[in-house]
């Protein structure tokens, strides 16, 4: 219990720094992949600091409220996770948070922002099955939905859940808004949607969005780590190594692929989910 609260507080305090630092690394490595020098690693923090200092332009008064709700729910998701609570619960809170983001985008009634929001919903539709199946997989492998119990398994859960791991890493590309699937809000400039979901978020609101993304990424990386972690403390080191590897893989995919249409995204994601996670699920049920 006490340990759970410590982890939770650590997450709430450290996640924005870790998330921001990971994004800085991301931009640096991306630049190197394109043979550029790239911005300093602390660039994301400079960006957020500047955004917080600029004049706030409010397109719609409720946008700020909706974004803050999105922020709070996302922090809650991670907090629950690192506290060791129910994994299903974490993912449901995460989906609720995403809904608030959707509202924050449509409430402005800007066509770009609304179209981005529509695509966000489609993205949710694409990744939700894999997310839910991951929870089921953990239950079958570890016998509990509780993160604290799963983390105390005899063996790393990835031994039972390789297919689920593949499916989860696959949808991470969507969740992290990386290239083949970044249809709703692009971090690459000059696309048909301007900035999609975030088009109408100026200065402070964009900063909130950015920080929430960092919290979210750290939470998602936590889930990746959950696949590896077990009773043995050494597994923590291995988990961190796997997390960094997965992050690098995402950057590589981001830089080596072009954007897809949402129809393709839906098809491919569901196919991978069904094949990898589905087959794994059936095998687990047969074995147990």
């Amino acid at each position: 219990m006490k340990l759970g609260i410590t982890y939770m507080l650590l997450y709430i305090v450290l996640a924005p720094f870790i998330g921001g630092f990971l994004e800085g690394l991301d931009r640096k490595i991306s630049a190197r992949m394109q043979r550029r020098v790239g911005p300093p690693v602390l660039q994301p923090f400079y960006d957020v600091k500047k955004l917080l200092n600029k004049q706030t332009i409010t397109v719609s008064t409720s946008q700020m409220f909706l974004l803050i709700t999105y922020f709070v729910l996302m922090v809650l998701t991670g907090a629950l996770f690192f506290f060791g609570a129910d994994l299903l619960m974490c993912f449901f809170v995460m989906s609720t948070a995403a809904t608030f983001l959707y509202f924050a985008a449509v409430v402005t009634s800007s066509p770009y922002s609304s179209a981005g929001a529509q695509r966000e919903l489609i993205q949710m539709m694409a990744y939700e099955p894999a997310v839910l199946l991951t929870c089921v997989g953990f239950y079958l492998a570890a016998g509990s939905f509780n993160v604290s119990d799963i983390a105390k398994s005899q063996m790393s859960n990835i031994a039972f859940l390789p297919g689920f791991f593949v499916a989860f890493v696959f949808i991470l590309t969507i969740k992290m808004r990386k290239s083949p699937f970044d249809t709703s809000a692009s971090h690459h400039m000059h696309q048909e949607l301007v900035k999609g979901l975030t088009t109408e978020m100026g200065s402070r609101n964009l900063a909130i969005f950015q920080i929430t993304e960092w919290y979210e990424n750290v939470f998602l990386m936590g889930v990746v780590g959950l696949f590896i972690i077990n009773r043995n403390p050494i597994s923590i080191v291995v988990a961190i190594a796997v997390i960094l590897l997965v992050y690098f893989l995402e950057i590589l995919i981001d830089n080596s692929s072009a954007r897809m249409k949402w129809q393709q995204m839906l098809k491919i994601t569901w196919a991978v989910t069904l094949l990898a996670a589905g087959v794994n699920l059936i095998m687990l049920m047969v074995i147990r």
Binding site: R27, A31, Q34, R35, R36, V37, G38, P39, P40, Q43, Y46, D47, K49, K50, L51, N53, K54, Q55, T56, I57, V59, M189, H190, Q191, V194, K195, T198, T199, E200, M201, G202, S203, L206
Partner: protein, 148 residues
């Protein structure tokens, strides 16, 4: 460099340019010059931009667009006119539809001459704009503190 903003986000708008300057602006973002190492991000969204970089002259059709983009940008902001077209109207100055440089509709802070302006000159102009942006940001913050 210590007192310079590390995060200038840039909005590029093409007035009635011949595209020569636009190509040079984009060249400044390529690996050879890599403006992102200075923290420059080329954004398409006025609400998130700090520096308004405009190429080409102003004509009857785009004057409202330019004005609107300028108004949508949150303070503090800096305007850079790239190429002689954006500075004065350039070779198109005497055309029946051209009103002149960007400063006919919005206040321009930095003028980058050249036809077409070279990437080095553009980056130099942007770096100066960044300095000015930081100055305005400091003033803006001082004002906010006074009000609070």
């Amino acid at each position: 460099m210590a007192n310079i903003s590390r995060s200038p986000w840039l909005l590029h708008y093409d007035g009635s340019s011949c595209n020569g300057c636009d190509i040079e602006v984009l060249a400044a973002l390529t690996p050879v010059y890599d403006a992102e190492r200075l923290g420059v991000v080329n954004t398409g969204d006025p609400m998130q931009a700090d520096i308004f970089l405009i190429t080409g002259g102003i004509n009857e059709q785009n004057k409202d667009v330019v004005k609107q983009i300028y108004d949508q940008m949150p303070r503090p902001k800096v305007v850079v006119a790239v190429g002689v077209c954006a500075c004065t109207g350039g070779v198109f100055k005497d055309c029946y539809n051209i009103l002149g440089g960007a400063d006919t509709v919005i206040p321009v802070d930095i003028y980058v001459p050249g036809c077409a302006a070279r990437p080095q000159a553009i980056i130099d102009g942007v770096v100066q704009a960044v300095g000015l942006f930081q100055q305005r940001l400091d003033e803006h913050n001082a004002q906010k503190r006074k009000e609070a």
